[in-house]
């Protein structure tokens, strides 16, 4: 082993070590922003419905104008964000809720938020302390406008674009 070979081996090892770190960061990056493959497959369905735009079924919440996120603005889970998909979001103290709140003022199955006819609807599931949309108590399923606070116990949520 000459000194030159050993130096080259040393540099190669450091390079491999850093490549590993970079590869790891790459995986995390793909996790954050979606890998190239995932982005491509995700953007395809968005591009496809462009031509038959006029005849789109009104049942789907529209991606362009409707809300895309549910944000917790107050309470213990403040800052938590949910991406709105097709699935309804349940809120309560029960462990299988989408948003599990630990709050003495919330019921185990407190409320749910679901999409219907292009709108997001909030429904109280018979909670003890009630669900408030803006300032009024939700007694029957009511559509949720963008940015109007939904209060459940000490937790406040709102829909955002």
């Amino acid at each position: 082993m000459t000194a030159l070979t050993l130096t080259l081996i040393k540099l190669a090892f450091l390079a491999v070590l850093w490549l590993f770190v970079i590869a790891t960061v790459g995986v995390i990056r793909a996790d954050l922003f979606g890998s190239k493959a995932a982005t491509r497959s995700a953007s395809r369905p968005a591009r496809q419905p462009k031509p038959p735009r006029q005849q789109r079924a009104p049942a789907r919440p529209s991606r362009q104008s409707g809300p895309s996120k549910l944000v917790v603005t107050q309470g213990a889970l403040q800052g938590t964000t949910f991406d709105l998909g097709e699935a309804p979001i349940t809120i309560g103290r029960a462990n299988d809720s989408t948003l599990v709140v630990t709050d003495d003022y919330a019921s185990s199955r407190h409320a749910r938020i679901f999409a219907q006819d292009g709108q997001w609807i909030v429904e109280d599931l018979g909670s003890t302390n009630g669900t408030y949309l803006g300032r009024s108590r939700v007694t029957r399923p009511a559509p949720v406008p963008l940015g109007v606070p939904i209060r459940i116990g000490k937790t406040v949520l709102e829909l955002r674009k």
Binding site: I9, F20, V21, V27, A76, G79, F82, T90, T102, T128
Partner: protein
């Protein structure tokens, strides 16, 4: 705790994980090969053995993760495997029993001194660590049966106080005469038959569970009530009780074990979890203030000369090289071997002078090793890291610094940072407040431990004999850290799997009122 949204990476990323794991194996085995080529002039003797054993271990761990927690974070396992592998390669390099020169010398009948680095023992501990990881993953799997018998990180909340008591018990064990014992000046060991265990490594995990369970219940009181002064909202006086109790216990550790780093680890853990739970920055200021006050008072108390001396060595290590004597007047007299008459030793001489004896040679040699390494290092197998005492355990970071240089050390620190970052991300994405605190605390305790020991051996803070997670030789540390990774992986699976679907069919649902 405001977070950018995790845009639902709700697809298993086990493929990426496997790729990284293979990469980590390649790096580890390349390190072994380099040690052999540089030190012995050929591929190392045990390379074939290690290149079978390590991938089998890592592959088993990967299989269990992919089988039971497919949505888990993909980078946690490869990062842990890489750190463990690099540590193993460094211990192999320091274990001169594996060197061809030594084998030849022993065959020629020469008597040579034993060295303490034991690569094969460390491989056994890696095996036990990964076995514990696998057992933990299997125990924490999703079960459909009776909820009472499932064990997941979440179910630990039920036994908050039991686990807290267990943690205190584990912390006290080494002080108990008979089973506890002192090795290299640190009373952190327990001897059970032929085995020696450091219970503190496990206690830190239990403490995280205890703090998380406690703070989940109390954080409302700790975060909502209080006066606001400027941008700080101060808590009520009686809400200060828990932090004061932990502060007193920490100071107790400082006084009894004379160990600044451990005190920093536990107190920092509590303060950071308090901050995560309440989101009030005032707790961080209160905590830092209390710790500073405690250390300041400790340096003033005369019978705590030891703590004083630790701080003096840290600020001014040169007079203590190979033995220094701190006199009552505050003057340091060198009692290094070359200043003594034959037959005297430094410790006895210092006793005669009536001062406190201490030796900073280890710390300084570690610093010299880092200097020797420079930016690119000497290359694995080409430096002289064995000159530092305990170069394979407490000072393995300096040994790696000598042979991998600043470039390699930065890569290792980034690996730790990534583990911590993924842990914090898990905490942010977790849907349950207890798991939020648990994941946050577990990643914080790892970060603090790396900070305390790396800061110690690089003379950023006074030195403490903590282990470097995954790198240091030693079983307790490896076992505890593999369990820590199992917990994080399980929690990240819970946080990243798709949310449970609500029952769609209204007619089939029966609403039962419970109140």
């Amino acid at each position: 705790m405001s977070s950018p949204s995790e845009p639902a990476p709700q697809t298993p990323r086990t493929g990426a994980s496997l790729t990284l794991l293979v990469f980590a194996m390649v790096v580890t085995l390349a390190a072994f090969a380099q040690v052999g080529l540089a030190r012995d002039g050929g591929l190392p003797k045990g390379l074939f053995f290690y290149s079978v054993a390590l991938p089998v271990l890592a592959g088993t761990a990967y299989y269990v993760v992919a089988r039971f927690t497919p949505y888990a974070d993909p980078v946690l396992l490869p990062l842990a495997v890489l750190l463990n592998g690099i540590g193993l390669a460094m211990i192999y390099r320091l274990d001169l029993d594996t060197s061809r020169t030594k084998i030849a010398a022993v065959a020629a009948g020469q008597k040579l001194a034993e060295d303490e680095a034991k690569a094969l023992t460390q491989l056994q501990w890696t095996f036990i660590g990964i076995a514990l990881f696998v057992i933990a993953m299997i125990m924490m799997r999703d079960t459909k049966g009776d909820q009472r018998f499932t064990l997941t990180p979440k179910t630990l909340q039920r036994s908050t106080y039991t686990l807290g008591a267990l943690a205190i018990l584990l912390l006290i064990l080494p002080i108990v005469p008979g089973i506890g014992g002192e090795v290299n000046g640190a009373r952190v060991w327990v001897f059970i038959g032929p085995f020696s265990v450091q219970p503190g490594e496990f206690a830190k995990l239990l403490l995280v569970v205890f703090f998380a369970g406690y703070l989940v219940n109390k954080r409302q009181a700790l975060s909502l009530v209080g006066k606001k002064i400027g941008f700080l909202s101060l808590p009520r006086a009686r809400d200060l009780m828990p932090i004061l109790v932990i502060w007193l216990i920490t100071l107790g550790v400082l006084f009894v074990q004379k160990d600044l780093g451990t005190a920093l680890l536990y107190f920092g853990l509590f303060v950071s979890m308090l901050y995560i739970a309440t989101q009030r920055i005032s707790w961080v200021f209160i905590g830092t203030g209390l710790l500073a006050l405690g250390i300041f008072v400790a340096t003033l108390i005369p019978f705590l000369g030891h703590v004083n001396q630790r701080i003096d060595i840290w600020q001014n290590p040169k007079p203590y090289f190979d033995g220094g004597c701190l006199l009552d007047s505050g003057k340091v007299v060198s009692v290094a071997p070359d200043t003594l008459k034959p037959g005297e030793n430094g410790f006895g001489k210092c006793l005669q002078l009536g001062g406190e004896y201490a030796d900073s040679a280890q710390l300084l040699k570690g610093i010299y090793a880092l200097g020797e390494g420079g930016v690119l290092g000497t290359g694995l197998g080409q430096g002289e890291p064995w000159r530092t005492p305990l170069s394979f355990s407490d000072f393995i970071f300096d040994s790696l610094g000598e042979e991998l240089g600043l470039t390699g050390l930065m890569a290792l620190l980034v690996c730790y940072a990534l583990i911590v970052q993924r842990g914090m991300k898990t905490a942010l994405a977790a849907r349950d407040p207890f798991l939020k605190l648990f994941a946050g605390g577990v990643s914080f305790v790892l970060a603090l431990q790396v900070f305390v020991i790396v800061g110690g051996v690089t003379r950023l803070i006074p030195l403490t004999g903590l282990t470097t997670p995954f790198l240091s030789q030693g079983g307790s540390s490896l076992m505890a850290n593999w369990i820590l990774i199992a917990l994080l992986i399980r929690m990240s699976h819970d946080a990243r799997k798709p949310p449970p679907q609500a029952i769609q069919d209204e007619g089939m649902t029966q609403v039962v009122m419970t109140r």
